[in-house]
Amino acid sequence: MSDSVSVAIHGVSKVFGHDRNAVTALDDVSLDIREGEFFTLLGPSGCGKTTLLRLIAGFEHPTRGHIDLHGEEISHLPPYRRPVNTVFQSYALFPHMTVAENIGFGLEMQGKSKEETTSTVGEMLRLVQMEDLADRRTDQISGGQQQRVALARALAPRPRVLLLDEPLSALDYKLRKGMQIELKRLQNETGITFIFVTHDQEEALTMSDRLAVMSQGKVLQVGAPREIYAHPAVRFVADFIGDTNFLDAELLEIERDRTELKLPSGKPVSARGAARSVDGKVHIAVRPEQTTLTRDADAAHLEGHIDNVVYSGTDTHYHITLPGGESFVVRTQNRGDSGDEWQAGQTAGIVIEPGAVQILAD
């Protein structure tokens, strides 16, 4: 992976329809996607992630802004002039062609010689482990195999960028897990920039080098999975990725890169980064697994009433109501010696681990 930019999206907006029927699918989106990285666009359905992918592929053209590929503007080019290939959600394999013909289609359209096409197709078939099925029709192979053919077909012309539109969503759980590893392997072996669209946050976290979280046509946060999970910038990101407790806190003191806060319980706690606030109040997020229960009132940051204890194999979830009425979840990992120490109905202290408090911008 290098630091040079592969796809640069500059202030792109996309509006569908006209006048009163106009729908803004993308609202002033800017992004830099680096060469050779596995970049994910993550968001709920309707957030604009697929529209952004279609704009990069050339199936749509931006209403405002432009898209550059390695420094050259491509937003006005038709799809067949962009060195970018797509793996479609429905695979879109050509039903009247064999597996090998499907994979060779792009090469043939590029005007590659017969020999070169044949050898590249062979290489691709090996890459996705489909050599035995080269002459099958695409309706005679399984969904997972169709997925591999779609990948091989898109990789065969050696695109600068590979676009993947929720390609795993039609597969069952086991196959999906396998394909996730397979995709990472293919990306490592080819060194091609992958732009992957998904609504599955777990998939996004496990596969991406970096990801952009989108909502309502906007990019809310861009970063490495660890960064996004540990330090969500806004409420939506904190809520969409993983489970989160939301609390209100008061500002006590702001230093250069840390902020002292007062929790609803009156206890102080410190958070990374400098907060900005007009009225001295901020919203904070705390991940359930970065908290524990205690009987020691002095060590506890918060105190509450346990409503419910949910055992889920690896973890136990404690659903707690704080004195102000807010709900709070504490998640602890189950160990061999941990019995049912806490029961519903008890009052418990909550300890927040150092660095677990994240200040939200909204």
């Binding site: 799809p79 002039r81 479609f88 429905s90 039903p95 359209m109």
Partner: protein, 274 residues
């Protein structure tokens, strides 16, 4: 429980309505009896198309050896082949233009215009063509078959257009996006991806157009020049004189051709699941 059982028992079934069998049978008899009579009497050995004198193939032989029938058949086939070819090409283009573009203003108007021959009374078109071609004949002195081919092409277009359009609408559009994504320009994408899947629709449209052209009387009767009788207009001419079972024999042959083509269209449609 009891309730759901009784509703199931009372479920509406058209088969169980009083008189269903009789009405259905009566309809089939009215529809097909004349055709059965026509076919049966084509094998009559007598000269009357209404009085049975015994089995014979003599009228088929007579029709086969009738040079006027041969000429008319040849003209019918020449006109139908050309008209269905041109109509299918134009209909394919029209279908692409009405399904593979961004929605535009007046799209429904174009749809209506393409299907105009289905809505305008045929006799009106016939008179209009007669007058129009009279002017052209006057100006150019050309009196060939092109007038018939042209008018048949025109009224065959909607019959070719409808199945082709239906096929295009049923196709997965992402396949064409995938082709464009894989460096195929519009023409390559049409030839390599759209057309191979459109063939059943195109063939169905062409056969339908062929049968419609082969069948036409009204427009042909008005447009044809002397000596340009097609099989149907020749038969119409014969009816004005003494009728012999020869007409039955020709009709039966025509029926057979139409039925075979219709069967072909049906099988094509079924094979491709549309």
């Amino acid at each position: 429980m009891e309730n759901s059982l009784s509703t199931r028992r009372n479920q509406f079934s058209v088969f169980k309505q009083p008189g269903f069998t009789i009405i259905a049978l009566a309809c089939f008899i009215v529809l097909y009896m004349p055709i059965v009579v026509l076919v049966v009497y084509s094998f009559n050995s007598g000269t009357s198309p209404a009085k049975w004198d015994g089995f014979s193939l003599q009228w088929y032989a007579a029709a086969w050896n009738n040079s006027a029938v041969k000429t008319a058949t040849l003209i019918s086939i020449i006109v139908a082949c050309q008209a269905s070819l041109y109509a299918t090409i134009l209909a394919t283009m029209a279908a692409m233009g009405t399904t593979r573009t961004r929605p535009y203003r007046g799209q429904n108007v174009i749809y209506a215009l393409v299907n105009q021959p289905l809505m305008v009374p045929e006799i009106v078109t016939a008179v209009a063509l007669l007058i129009c071609f009279a002017v052209i004949k006057e100006l150019t002195d050309y009196r060939g078959l092109a007038y018939l081919v042209l008018s048949h092409t025109a009224f065959c277009i909607p019959f070719a257009y409808l199945p082709i359009r239906a096929r295009l609408e049923g196709m997965d559009r992402t396949l064409e996006l995938a082709a464009a994504d894989l460096y195929a320009n519009s023409w390559q994408s049409f030839r390599r991806v759209t057309l191979p899947q459109l063939w059943p629709g195109i063939l169905a449209g062409a056969m339908l157009a062929f049968v419609i052209s082969l069948d036409d009387v009204v427009i042909t009767e008005f447009v044809k020049a002397p000596g340009q009788d097609t099989l149907p207009t020749y038969m119409l001419g014969q009816l004005r004189r003494a009728i012999t079972p020869e007409i039955n024999a020709i009709s039966t042959a025509l029926l057979l051709i139409s039925a075979i083509l219709a069967l072909f269209v049906f099988l094509l449609g079924r094979k491709h699941g549309n």
